[in-house]
Symmetry: C3
Subunit: 265 residues, 3 copies
């Protein structure tokens, strides 16, 4: 299994998937840079007049609800509809869905009219979407993670998608298979956008690998292994952020197999 | 007084204030990263449908008029109204108010309907708001600073708020107390966003310290001391920007007392 | 000729041109920082209510069609109209014009109602605008460059402007003079925004140098020479991006003459 997951990085680099991103303005630059470092081709096409048509030619679509303007909201729904028509996978990052009710109206519309293949969120967001009680504060989860694995499986089955919940351990499931990932460093929570960047990597991965579960395992490992390597070099957030991109660029199939700590269920 | 100001960093790290920011797209990533490095929890909630409700659960609100879209304009006014209702302090950065008349309509509306606790601007902006003649060019002040202290005191008394004017020396006042800060390096003017980042730090500080004057003194010292430390390490703007975040992360109560150059009046 | 081109950096640093930018949200921070490092004064004034008036006081205007919101679209057209009235040079980056039809409606309106002095694009975009068949993928050119010089000259003559097409070699022309630039490193394509940053530098250069052809030669040399110097220091994209800004700050007249590889036709 780890070999399959590791091979996704090579598939990404060979295919150079075109990732359309509709994402927040806080970390949009980081998302574009990490996609390039990973081997994908980012295209932040989020204007209302452009989103539907561009989705048709994309390898995958990343929709992040962070700073969702009204125009982005409409573009996100249009892109997910186009994705359904044109059979393009969609990754959703439901930022702050448990704290801000409006986010859920957008998710509902995407589910009803369009397509969602992967939901990547923090523990609090995933539990909330699965209908469980959860604890969040602003855009961050302060949930203890109890019952999170069940929430992930429930949510994956409910919407027939892959779910990834980040936290001290990261959980990935397609409703049947479950992978628990024990890599990563706390410094990833001291910079803005680690979650957004992970969502972007998920999109690149599902744009190059048909098994979305395996693709997302690769993406989660990628940011965690790059984070570990960056933290070995520097222990301060400004410099760490720079080194994180460097180390995504340096990822190799071998490193996943050698350093990945995955529990497969 | 310096001990009180220094202690704010510890209060921020203990409370982890939730800062809602409605800020420009140029430096929004820098603002989020510096807030995290400082110990606060940033949430860039600026959508029209989200701003009012989110303000109610925030510790402080940062409103920066830089690239103010129509949607942000409405969100800013709504957030400041919510801040008044819910007793949440608001920090305003009136970017380019002397060069662009529209900014003042927004400020007027915020003052009439909402709440402003701290105004942080460059010398030209503060003098303009105080009704004095001033010199600005684009978004930068080219004012010589003559009469600036009086302008700060006048403005603070006029709106019953704390005023901070940045320049070679920084001036902070609540209309009675005045602090002149002589720290900082010129390299802070060679990167975009030092002013925006300072505004963000002001928000975090007033979100953790009730005495807004003391809070803002801490914020101004924080960016200046971090800037001095960064400049010791590197003298080029790209690298300096990275090290600035690193050095905000490294700030300690001791450094304020040891290195802060404050004239209290 | 190289001496004339080299001298533009000094003109920029002496004049500190005020550059109004209406640019995409992905790389807006990079554009502001590179303008500061180059010696210009960036002002990202892109709000509908601000764009027309601010254009009148700017030294040059940079319009980049990357993530063009509806509000930015209107602001871009207004700014180009104001530029015509107020005799301010306009640099256009027609991002993805060959992939996204809507971009061309905006360009058409700018040409009809306003003013465009420089068009800076990748090979695919320039060939498309010149009416030639071209190959692009998403926002990137995958064109082989055959016939590109003719496309540049045709386009320059068609709209009476300076055209710059980037690629392995960069081509600059005003319809009569042609310069081929052979500097640069591939790493510039592994970070987001090298093209946007070049567009920003073109604006600063035409804001300080009346001969737009010479100004654009300087801008293209500037990013390429800075890229070469940065790549000598680091070979990874995150760190390279930081060093790129550092090395723009370090540019000197001497380096252009010494290291610039320009074929003048």
């Amino acid at each position: 299994m780890i070999k399959e997951a590791a091979s996704v990085i090579t598939k990404v680099r060979n295919k150079v998937p075109l990732v359309q991103a509709i994402t927040n303005y806080v970390t949009v630059n980081d998302c574009a840079n990490i996609l390039l470092a990973f081997g994908a081709s980012p295209a932040m096409v989020e204007a209302y007049d452009e989103a539907y048509d561009f989705a048709a030619i994309s390898s995958a679509i990343y929709i992040n609800l962070g700073t969702l303007t009204k125009e982005q909201e409409e573009a996100a729904v249009l892109a997910s509809i186009s994705a359904k028509v044109n059979k393009v996978p969609v990754v959703l990052d439901p930022v702050a869905c448990s704290a801000i009710p409006r986010k859920n109206l957008v998710i509902k519309r995407m589910l009803e009219l369009g397509r969602i293949d992967v939901i990547k969120g923090n523990g609090g967001e995933i539990k909330f979407l699965a209908g469980q009680a959860s604890k969040t504060r602003g855009v961050d989860s302060v949930d203890d993670g109890e019952g999170l694995e069940k929430a992930c499986v429930d949510l994956a089955q409910k919407y027939n998608c892959v779910v990834a919940a980040t936290g001290k351990e990261d959980i990935i499931t397609d409703g049947e298979r479950v992978a628990i990932i024990q890599n990563g460093v706390e410094m990833l929570t001291k910079i803005t956008g680690a979650g957004c960047m992970l969502g972007a990597l998920c999109s690149a991965a599902v744009g190059a690998e048909k098994d979305s579960f395996i693709a997302v395992v690769n993406a989660v490992l990628s940011i965690n292994l790059a984070g570990e390597a960056a933290f070995k070099e520097v222990q301060l957030p400004g410099s760490f952020r720079t080194k994180l991109i460097d180390n995504v660029y340096l990822l190799s199939e071998e490193r996943y197999a050698k350093e990945g700590k995955v529990i497969w269920k």
